[in-house]
């Protein structure tokens, strides 16, 4: 402990002497931790806002839908049940908006918010006792239908009576999933209002929520409730189903961040090891002096670990804070909960371990420094490297030859520098590849299975009129009739979506990436998710049932399928039984090139007098646009890492060749040539690192994205490598910036008075 004061002095002095480098280390680590935290938060919460909603609303784990109100007292006595929400009376009504009719479950509530399964009012207010026509609408439903606070909410009861209600608030809930994955939409009114809208008790149901002490006890509670209520139960849902339905398809973002964070951590470890190693190497004399003053080997090790490790740990702390902010920023508007302690601890401890291991090796080497300060710390090999000999052979200018020789005088640090630059560059290239893939999604939606930009349907006009109206529009290139039915897969344990679109003779332009398009009755193409789910391959026959009718199809190809986790079977209308196919449920419109879907939509609505229901197809890339921000942020962090490595390489090069400078000048090199020598030494490493990293990244990116596509069910075939131009620009920018950074100290050194002594 007696060395503490002395060590603090040393560390303070050293950090003061290299503020920039220290700051870079801190920022780089902070950036990586931010990425990791954000990624973990996204993978945990972003993909599923359920957790946040459930905790905030003190949600019920089990929801029972019964004909009449159940015995609450008996339910609350069930083992594991903490509280009971409701029973609430709920009536099915139809909401009519812009000619579109959407089913709504209208639930009767009190003016006072319940203790559990609380609707979380986000806009407007909760119901008040005087609100005879007030209604609070579930937020995702409101957003899908563009409902606003103060706007009308006109519902038609089953008896046909129309009731004009007014939206007084929008609320989040964990009672059911988001609209339209979960239908009908949910809205709350006062029980008195509900009684006015639907006076007949027989046409409504009773909804009761059970909040459990432990969500893992759901199954026994469900069994208990079923035994108790028996045939009264019409429907039942558990928190697991709600959670599953809230799961968004942007796991990609989390995985991307995890990939970047993980690789970034490797890059950060390299940068830290390089920085610490370079620093130790350039401080050999000072460390030897410390030892001659009475520092032991272990104390030097501890000193260096403390100094370099502290920078990393500071970065981790900053990263933890930034990670929380970044996560809430990335998921703006979604209820975010802080990351649960296990991944948080894992990230913190993991990063800390990586940092400490990265620092330990240089620190150990520092500790082993011989205590004789006059011992030379010059590079061991002085002979010309092969590259330098090659440079001589092709008669390069002397500055370049000498720089080439300098680049590899210290083999291990040179390769570490190259590697340390290659890893960030590889990740930057992968980031650019993700960017290019997103661009591709947006620019060529037909390549991701979204050739049609609009779908039209109508429950007012006959199907032929809908098709005619759509074909009449000048912006429409092709119209495909379509129907979607639910089919039970062979084991009948779950259903998959069967989408009939176009006919076998005139199929919808699916994006077939393997096999071929269906061309006959009984042939179908499938998404990766479906193939994985059913364990079939292209060429296999599958048997399913659609509403009792068997459907046997021959899978002839795989398509890129961005919907339903890829668990979709696509075939021609003629492959479906007539009862399912006629008339078509909707028409998919492929627009002419360069035509704005919004214009066509407005035109179609106007032409049909609002009788048509026209929907825009949502491009998956639009949901993923936040990735672009993430990519930019990551490129910044990775550039910082590269810069840290570069500064180390440059400082080490300068140190190793400080003595040579006098010789070079004596040989007659001008200051400019001396500077060129130094820049070449560093620049060569930069060029090698950047080019190797870019090449590795470019060759990996397509495969990585396809791998992600495969695991998410979309399927391989979406990955794009950044364009050659982008790559060239990235490489040139990286090398240019690096040379510029290397030039400043080199010029300074070249112009400085050459030291005669070792320092």
């Amino acid at each position: 402990m007696s060395t503490l004061r002395a060590s603090v002095r040393w560390v303070r002095a050293d950090l003061r002497a290299r503020r920039g480098q220290a700051l870079l280390t801190v920022l780089a680590v902070a950036g990586i931790v931010t990425a990791l935290i954000t990624s973990a938060t996204l993978l945990e919460d972003g993909t599923n806002p359920w957790r946040g909603l459930f905790i905030e609303s003190k949600g019920a784990h089990v929801w029972l839908h019964t004909r009449d109100a159940p015995d609450v007292a008996a339910l609350s006595r069930l083992q594991g049940v903490v509280r009971v929400a409701g029973p609430y009376r709920a009536a099915p009504v139809m909401l009519t908006m812009d000619g579109r009719r959407s089913p709504v479950a209208l639930r009767g509530m009190q003016a006072r918010l319940p203790a559990v399964a609380v609707p979380l009012v986000r806009q407007g207010r909760w119901l008040r006792s005087g609100d005879a026509d007030g209604v609070v609408v579930e937020r995702s439903f409101a957003e899908a239908l563009d409902l606003r606070v103060g706007g009308p909410f006109t519902v038609t009861a089953l008896n046909g009576a129309v009731h004009p209600l007014i939206v007084v608030g929008l609320a989040d809930t964990a009672d059911q999933g988001f609209y339209p994955e979960s239908t009908p939409g949910l809205a709350w009114t006062l029980t008195s209002t509900l009684a006015g809208v639907e006076p007949a008790l027989g046409r409504s149901e009773s909804v009761t929520g059970l909040r459990l002490a432990d969500g893992e006890d759901t199954l026994p509670v469900v069994h208990g409730a079923v035994t108790m209520l028996g045939g009264q139960i019409q429907r039942m849902s558990t928190w697991r189903e709600v959670r599953a339905s809230m799961e968004l398809d942007n796991r990609l973002l989390g995985l991307l961040l995890a990939l970047f964070g993980g690789a970034g951590l490797v890059a950060a470890a390299l940068a830290i090891a390089n920085a610490a190693g370079g620093r130790v190497l350039s401080q050999t004399r000072d460390i030897a002096t410390l030892k001659s003053l009475g520092y032991t080997r272990g104390q030097i090790f501890g000193l260096l670990m403390a100094e370099h490790g502290a920078l990393g740990l500071l970065g981790i702390v900053i990263g933890l804070v930034c990670g929380q902010f970044a996560a809430s920023f990335a998921l703006e508007g979604m209820p975010i909960l802080p990351l649960s302690p296990v991944p948080l601890l894992a990230i913190t401890a993991g990063t800390a371990a990586v940092v400490l291991v990265a620092v330990a090796l240089p620190a150990w080497r520092g500790g082993r420094t011989a205590p004789i300060p006059s011992a030379p710390a010059a590079p061991l090999t002085g002979h010309l490297s092969r590259l330098a000999r090659l440079a001589l052979l092709v008669r390069l200018p002397p500055a370049l030859v000498l720089g080439t020789r300098d680049a590899f005088t210290r083999r291990v640090p040179a390769f570490l520098s190259i590697f340390g630059l290659a890893v960030p560059m590889m990740m930057i290239t992968i980031g650019l590849g993700c960017w290019a893939t997103l661009d591709d999604f947006l620019r060529h939606p037909e390549q991701v299975g979204q050739a049609a930009a609009l779908t039209v349907r109508s429950d007012k006009l006959p199907a032929e009129d809908v098709a005619r109206a759509a074909r009449a529009d000048p912006g429409v290139a092709a119209v495909y009739p379509g129907s979607e039915v639910s089919a039970l897969e062979p084991e009948q344990t779950r259903s998959v979506l069967v989408r009939a679109l176009g006919t076998s003779a005139e199929p919808y332009p699916f994006s077939v990436v393997e096999g071929r398009m269906f061309a006959d009755r009984g042939e179908a193409v499938a998404g990766q998710g479906l193939l994985d789910l059913m364990g079939v391959r292209i060429g296999d026959r599958v048997r399913m049932t659609v509403g009792g009718t068997p459907l046997i199809v021959h899978i002839v190809g795989r398509v890129v399928e961005p919907e339903q986790d890829g668990e979709v079977l696509s075939l021609g209308m003629d492959s479906l039984a007539a009862k399912d196919a006629v008339p078509p449920q909707f028409y998919s419109l492929v627009l002419k090139r360069g035509v704005d879907p919004a214009t066509v939509r407005a035109r179609l609505l106007a032409a049909s007098g609002e009788a048509l229901e026209v929907q825009r197809v949502v491009n998956p890339a639009e949901r993923l646009s936040v990735i672009r921000g993430v990519i930019v942020a990551l490129i910044v962090v990775l550039s910082l890492l590269g810069l840290a490595n570069l500064l180390t390489a440059s400082a080490l090069g300068l140190r190793d060749h400080a003595l040579d400078l006098a010789v070079l000048k004596a040989m007659g090199l001008t200051p400019r040539q001396v500077a060129a020598t130094l820049v070449t030494g560093t620049g060569l490493l930069v060029v090698l690192g950047v080019v190797a990293g870019t090449a590795a990244g470019a060759s990996l990116v397509g495969g990585l994205i396809d791998l992600e596509g495969h695991s998410s069910g979309v399927g391989a075939g979406i990955g794009r490598t950044p364009s050659f131009l982008t790559l060239t620009l990235a490489v040139l920018a990286a090398i240019g910036a690096a040379l510029l950074v290397a030039l400043i100290p080199a010029r300074k050194a070249a112009r400085a008075r050459v030291p005669v002594t070792a320092r």
């Binding site: 004061r5 040393w10 002095a13 002497a17 002096t289 003053l293 011989a370 205590p371 006059s374």
Partner: protein, 248 residues
């Protein structure tokens, strides 16, 4: 009762391995330095004089033989034990000063005291005293790079003396200085010697060596000459020599 010698070596040998070929640097040196003595070790390049003082300070391990410091066996100590010993008993001055570049003059001088466990205040007081003695008070906040060579060596000397070591080892302290600075540094060495400091000084400069009480000449790792020069004028006060004389 006589004080034990500050340094006593018995048949000290150092053999370097140079690519598998043994190169003897020091071959069997018996050297006894009494407390308060100022010994100059001279010899041509490669005669083993630097190796000898490095071994005496534990910077280099001996191949065989014994080293006794203040009557205690030191050659068997571990590296860490040597480091602790250096903190308390040995001060080093090197040819290239070896001040820690990033630290100010004041921090450089305070470092050994802090290392030995002194409080910040004690270290500061000691540093102020030493820099005052060496005429460097106004350079306390300068960085070593801002100092001239002579000044740097004076700072290095202050640092070596910070813990009142029983032995000061100086390896070519004037080797990198001009004659004026050499004179200054030697005058300072003489002063601390007069205050009772035991010094072993390595030099190849006969004029520098002539300042010492005793000159030991090395050639090819062996002592070829060991003579006490001069008396009276440079005889330190209150040293072990005085005690012996009184008793005798």
């Amino acid at each position: 009762m006589s004080l034990p010698p500050v340094v006593n070596t018995v048949n000290l040998v150092k053999i370097y391995q140079n690519g598998g070929v043994p190169v003897p640097a020091v071959r069997g040196i018996d050297l006894r330095v009494e407390a308060g003595q100022f010994v100059a070790i001279t010899g041509p390049s490669g005669s083993g004089k630097s190796t000898l003082v490095h071994m005496l300070g534990g910077l280099d391990a001996r191949t065989s033989g014994e080293i006794w410091l203040d009557g205690k066996r030191a050659d068997t100590l571990s590296e860490s034990a040597w480091a602790l010993l250096r903190r308390q008993k040995i001060g080093f001055v090197f040819q290239f000063f070896n001040l820690v570049a990033n630290m100010t003059v004041a921090d450089n001088v305070e470092l050994p005291a802090l290392l030995a466990g002194a409080s910040a205040r004690e270290a500061r007081e000691r540093r102020e005293h030493l820099l005052g003695e060496l005429g460097l008070t106004d350079r306390a906040d300068a960085s070593p790079a801002q100092l001239a060579g002579g000044e740097q060596q004076r700072v290095a000397l202050a640092r070596a003396l910070a813990n009142k070591p029983s032995l000061l080892l100086a390896d070519e302290p004037t080797g990198n200085l001009d004659s004026r600075n050499t004179r200054d540094v030697l005058r300072l060495l003489g002063e601390v010697h007069r205050e009772g400091q035991s010094i072993i000084l390595v030099t190849h400069d006969a004029r520098v060596a002539s300042l010492a009480d005793r000159v030991v000449s090395l050639l090819d790792g062996e002592i070829v000459d060991d003579g006490v020069i001069g008396t009276g004028r440079r005889r330190p006060r209150g040293t072990a020599g005085d005690v012996v004389e009184l008793r005798g």
